[in-house]
């Protein structure tokens, strides 16, 4: 059991929980996540996965990890009702992280909605490694941009898009991405957000001939690699076949070019046998 050090609102829409978890904070890398057990009765049993928003290792024995989330259903509602000093059951850090580029210098972070969460931690690490960091956040409306003031501080260039025009460009991230890449001299893209958005971001990145690291989201039964609930379809290295790969421990960060994006649409249409498990 870990302990909640702080619970605050982040803007109007998001909650932030800072959790004292020294071992997790020490080991954590950007793009990894933690699996929290909401304090509910037996009606909602499963853990909820959350990207690591930030770590604070200065506290030593009190080193913390911070997660940011919005209320979606019973699990996040129960977490949002938790208070300072309450115990919380946390597993982590889990998964493969984003990787810091060896040769490239100019990095663009592209976050859709709450998907921007893991990109703050990444941005800090990239800066610590001496890289240039630019940010492009998109959301439905201004209040759904994650920590926009901190994002402005993080990015050499920081741009926003909203579906309703309440902040920044009125429209989608993908409408301004090309322009951003040119303006910032982007050499690597890191993205997290809705699947459709990440598919489009990957496509544009490839058109510019630059790599995209994407952080995928899937429903997770266990979050520790044993149940096979969370798979992402990934092309094998020679492009001859697709394997269903566990998002929790083999991801959540993948090379965008390797993801079989059009499989999702096809599979939705496919009928299935009445098999179990």
């Amino acid at each position: 059991m870990a302990e909640i050090l702080n619970h605050r609102k982040l803007g109007d829409e998001y909650h932030s929980l800072t959790i004292v978890a020294p071992e997790i904070a020490e080991a954590a890398k950007p793009g990894q996540f933690v699996n929290l057990r909401p304090p509910t009765d037996r009606s909602y049993l499963l853990r909820r996965p959350f990207s690591i928003f930030r770590v604070n290792r200065r506290g030593n024995v009190a080193a913390t990890v911070e997660v940011v989330f919005d209320i979606r259903g019973p699990g996040t509602a129960a977490l949002a009702a938790m208070r300072r000093h309450e115990p919380i059951d946390i597993v982590g850090p889990i998964g493969r992280s984003f990787t810091i580029p060896k040769t490239q210098h100019s990095c663009l972070l592209v976050g859709g909605g709450v998907g921007a969460t893991p990109l703050f931690f990444l941005g800090e690490e990239l800066q610590n490694a001496g890289k240039r960091v630019d940010v492009l956040w998109g959301a439905a409306t201004a209040s759904r941009l994650v920590a926009p003031i901190e994002a402005k501080r993080l990015g050499a260039v920081a741009a926003f898009t909203t579906d309703d025009g309440s902040e920044g460009h009125h429209g989608l991230i993908t409408e301004v991405l090309g322009e951003m890449i040119e303006r910032c001299g982007t050499e690597v893209i890191y993205t997290c957000g809705p699947r459709q958005m990440m598919a489009s971001v990957t496509k544009i990145a490839l058109e510019f001939g630059i790599p995209a690291q994407v952080a995928m989201e899937e429903l997770m039964g266990c979050g520790i690699g044993v149940c096979m609930t969370c798979v992402t379809p990934v092309w094998n290295r020679d492009g001859t076949g697709i394997a269903n790969v566990r998002t929790c421990v083999d991801g959540p960060v993948f090379n965008g070019a390797r993801i079989a994006w059009d499989r999702y649409a096809k599979e939705e249409a496919a009928a299935a046998l009445p098999a179990g498990n």
């Binding site: 057990r37 037996r42 009606s43 909602y44 049993l45 499963l46 853990r47 059951d89 597993v91 899937e218 429903l219 997770m220 039964g221 266990c222 979050g223 520790i224 690699g225 044993v226 149940c227 096979m228 609930t229 969370c230 798979v231 394997a243 269903n244 421990v249 499989r263 999702y264 599979e267 939705e268 496919a270 009928a271 299935a272 046998l273 009445p274 098999a275 179990g276 498990n277």
Partner: protein
């Protein structure tokens, strides 16, 4: 605290703990070994394996439901040869009994998987007959006494270790299927596999899992599982049973044992608490000693019913 004996006899296998793993909820143990000492488990029942690798179903593969989860994984696994070359050597080093769960879509396929396991260092085979039978209009083997019998006797011819037939609760007469499995050579029974179920997203009018229907697990199904174990134990009191379905804590384990389980498998609880295998074992010891019961095995089938 007086010493309590938590070891059990499972069809001739002496297990140091009554807790085993439910197939598909523990993979082959490697990931879980970061959380618990596998040696403390009675046995590891690995994810069902098939002759060739299976890719499984499309996503979404899971939906959370009241006190449970619905899954439609589609038996994604890397195949028996991968198990033999990669998982089993590692498991053998862990010094914990291994029960290989096998699956297939035809009797022939079950037989071929079993044949590959013939000389492998495993302690038992669990036959997951909750699979669609391609030769019988995709009816599950476990839903038909003839198909059940055919698969179990085919596997029986291939391996010498004890065979456990894993039965589906989605049948009219569980004891009839259990009888068919035992007659065909099963040494014991595993009860229950998931309960066939469905969830629909009301906003999109789409099924919540891509497989349309799936299998329900977790506390939601525990009363169904306890009934199944009770019914089968009453009919075949000398047959070893691995009971499972919704076990979350030590009291649940006791409940299964009272109903007639010889050992109890932990499934979905591993997802919620990866240390469950340890914590429940230690709670079991405390439960028994606080009630001055010396041995868990002595509680088997001791539910007090008239008649």
């Amino acid at each position: 605290m007086p010493r309590v004996d938590l070891s059990v006899d499972l069809g001739g296998m002496k297990l140091r703990s009554p807790l085993v793993t439910a197939s598909g909820c523990f993979a082959s143990g490697r990931e879980m070994s970061e959380f618990i000492d596998l040696k403390k488990l009675g046995a590891i029942v690995v994810k069902s394996m098939t002759l060739k690798p299976w890719a499984g179903k499309a996503t979404p593969r899971m939906a959370e439901t009241s006190s449970g989860m619905l899954n439609a994984i589609g038996l994604q696994n890397k195949g028996v040869d991968h198990f033999l070359s990669t998982d089993l050597p590692w498991l053998t080093e862990q010094k914990v009994p291994v029960i290989a769960s096998i699956a297939g879509n035809t009797t022939q396929e079950f037989m071929q998987v079993a044949e590959r396991l013939r000389s492998a260092p495993i302690h038992a085979v669990e036959v997951n007959i909750s699979c669609p039978n391609l030769e019988d209009r995709n009816n599950m083997f476990a839903h038909d006494p003839q198909s059940t019998s055919a698969v179990i006797s085919a596997v029986r011819r291939m391996v010498d270790v004890p065979i456990f037939a894993k039965l589906s609760p989605n049948v009219t007469s569980l004891t009839a299927i259990a009888g068919a499995a035992l007659e065909a050579g099963a040494a014991g029974l595993s009860l229950i596999n998931t309960v066939m179920a469905m969830s629909i997203d009301v906003d999109s009018a789409m099924p919540k899992v891509a497989g349309v229907v799936g299998g329900l697990s977790g506390p939601a199904i525990k009363p169904i599982a306890v009934r199944a174990v009770f019914e089968v134990h009453q009919a075949y009191p000398h047959v070893p049973i691995i009971g499972m379905g919704g076990v979350m804590d030590a009291r649940d384990v006791i409940e299964f044992v009272l109903a007639g389980a010889s050992a109890v498998a932990l499934g979905t609880v591993n997802f919620i608490n990866p240390k469950a295998g340890h914590e429940i074992l230690s709670d079991l010891g405390q439960f028994l000693s606080s009630r001055k019961v010396g041995s868990l095995a002595a509680m088997r089938g001791q539910v007090k019913v008239e008649g």
